[in-house]
Amino acid sequence: MNNLFVYCEVEDGVVADVSLELLTKGRSLANELKCQLEAVIIGAGLKETEKQVIPYGTDVVHIIDDPRLAPYTTAPHASVLIKLFQEEKPQIALMGATPIGRDLGPRVSSALHSGLTADCTSLEIGDHEDKKAGKIYKNLLYQIRPAFGGNIIAWIINPDCRPQMATVREGVMRKQIINENYPSKINRLEVSKYVSDTDFAVQIIERHLEKRKVNIKGASIVVAGGYGVGSKENFKLLYELANVLGAEVGASRAAVDAGYADHERQIGQTGITVRPKLYIACGISGQVQHRAGMEESAQIISINTDPDAPINSLADYVITGDISEIIPKMIRYYKQNTK
């Protein structure tokens, strides 16, 4: 009762990184709240899957295993969580801000009448005083996210409804194993108690999933372009520089929306979070949602025609000028100096 739950996504028997990252964050929040960390794994053929989550400090692993529960469809997974949450009354429930988490989270929060905050970039524990009602709430979950076009950062709380629910994008939190043999309890749930036949009305006929082609999250250097790059054609310059430096190419949301780069390259609150050794921002103005996805980069170079672009405030090096002039020079002098 009153513990912290993480819904774990599984694809082909592998627990998603975002779930492990949330377990890591969940562990530290649970320590602060002096409560337990519990994982929920719903799927098919879950042989020893619990071993993937226990090392992150999971006190209880709830497992529900049935051939019909994978691949993911909304209703059966929602039914399991709704019923389980009604029984266990968690104070906090976290899930990935993935296509699955964003499909499942709202359904569960609606059924339980609990608040849900999407795409949090930070989670903290803190108190809240409701002056009007003269009430003090202890140890609430602060769900922190940029809002409203990135012009503000909002601290969202759910004072009265439980669980306090939040989704977080992959890469925002860091995963960290604390003990391979962490003492953990396994709770296998009986399928028929949680799922009914009517939950399977929506059927998947065909699936074509591709392994991710780009690995921006793991890249030690990222060359990223924004709307200021100007065209898909100009983006080729970024690929040339990335190629020479052994980097990956990323993009801001504005560049993705403009069609300059694919969605899978999007960096920021609603994309990927990166922490490379070097981040080269080309023609990126630096809205707060973008910065949320790259501000922990070790070194940042900003190339922008606007000397006052907001991103420059994060940068270690600010180059004022046109990328079509500057990037070829960077390539040339890199080659000259590494010969």
């Binding site: 989270g105 849900l116 601290w155 998947i204 991710r212 090096y317 600010v318 002098y333 100096n337």
Partner: protein
């Protein structure tokens, strides 16, 4: 197959790309009055999918449902110009400050007043919040299934619907019985543009509140042409529990907001001049950041 009854959920959103300093009120909610407002982009994709059903299945009707202030009637007119058959504006002070859950409650209670439907189609998410929560929450409150991230309706029969979903890493083909709620991605076809004839037909379409400000010359129109009446609904016209509405009915509260203020680092400043870039590359190579 006989015509279907389709409801399109749409939202008028502030154009978040053009936000000024006074965009937020002291209580942390949005000051919509000062912002340019547009038809939420993915709701236009949703409208297009609905209109395509109407194109292929005669007798299908498409009704836009939106919740918002009076001026949100603008997006209903936009929808009428593109082929929707009608629209409902749900507007009342009682809904002010609603989070996604209170919004979903108000919308679902309104849908219950609208009678039987076959399909509800909504944009995946609105650009002012990017939460993608209202669609699934409305489906849950109506006790129907949902299919999210739809980009195409492949087949539609009495027995059910077959759609293609676009996920981050691929596509899925899914079938389900009706009624159902779909949320639509921006990868779906763009919405058709305004139709000149429909623009002529509906340009004087108004809600009852708007009519109070309309030029007197046109007032006679609304009796003789009922299609020019955009239906306006208030809280008194739906069944609702007051504690489920607006700020009170919203489990999430804004504790505080902070304007984003940037503290500049002490950056090295360069131009496109060769010497500076040469030095920079040397420095990065020497410190093993690159190379």
């Amino acid at each position: 197959m006989k015509g279907l009854k389709i409801i399109v959920l749409a939202k008028q959103v502030p154009d978040t790309r053009n936000v000024g300093k006074d965009a937020m009120k002291a209580d942390g909610t949005v000051n919509r009055a000062v912002l340019p407002a547009i038809f939420n982009p993915e709701d236009l994709n949703a409208l297009e999918l609905a209109l395509r059903v109407k194109d292929t299945i005669p007798g299908t009707t498409v009704t836009i449902l939106t919740m918002g202030p009076g001026r949100a009637a603008e997006i209903i007119r936009e929808g009428l110009y593109r082929g929707a058959d009608g629209g409902i504006l749900l507007t009342d002070r009682a809904f002010a400050g609603s989070d996604t859950l209170a919004t979903s409650y108000a919308l679902s209670q309104t849908i219950k007043e609208m009678g039987k439907f076959d399909l509800i189609i909504a944009g995946r998410q609105a650009i002012d919040g990017d939460t993608a929560q209202v669609g699934p929450q409305v489906a849950e409150k109506l006790g129907i299934n949902q299919i999210t991230y739809v980009e195409e309706i492949l087949q539609l029969e009495k027995s059910g619907i077959k759609v293609r979903r676009r996920l981050d890493n691929g596509v899925e083909t899914v079938k389900a019985p009706l009624p159902i709620l779909l949320t639509v991605n921006s990868s779906a076809p763009d919405c058709r543009s305004r139709n000149a004839k429909l623009l002529m037909k509906y340009k004087h379409a108004r809600t009852v509140t708007e009519r109070q400000d309309a030029a007197e010359d046109y007032l006679f129109l609304y009796d003789s042409r009922p299609f020019l009446n955009i239906q306006e609904m208030t809280v008194s016209m739906i069944q609702s529990e007051p504690d489920q509405l607006g700020l009170t009915g919203s489990p999430t509260k804004v504790k505080r907001i902070e304007n984003v203020i940037l503290q500049a680092k002490d950056a090295k400043r360069l131009t496109a001049a060769d010497e500076g870039i040469n030095d920079l590359m040397k420095e990065l190579i020497d410190s093993h950041v690159i190379g």
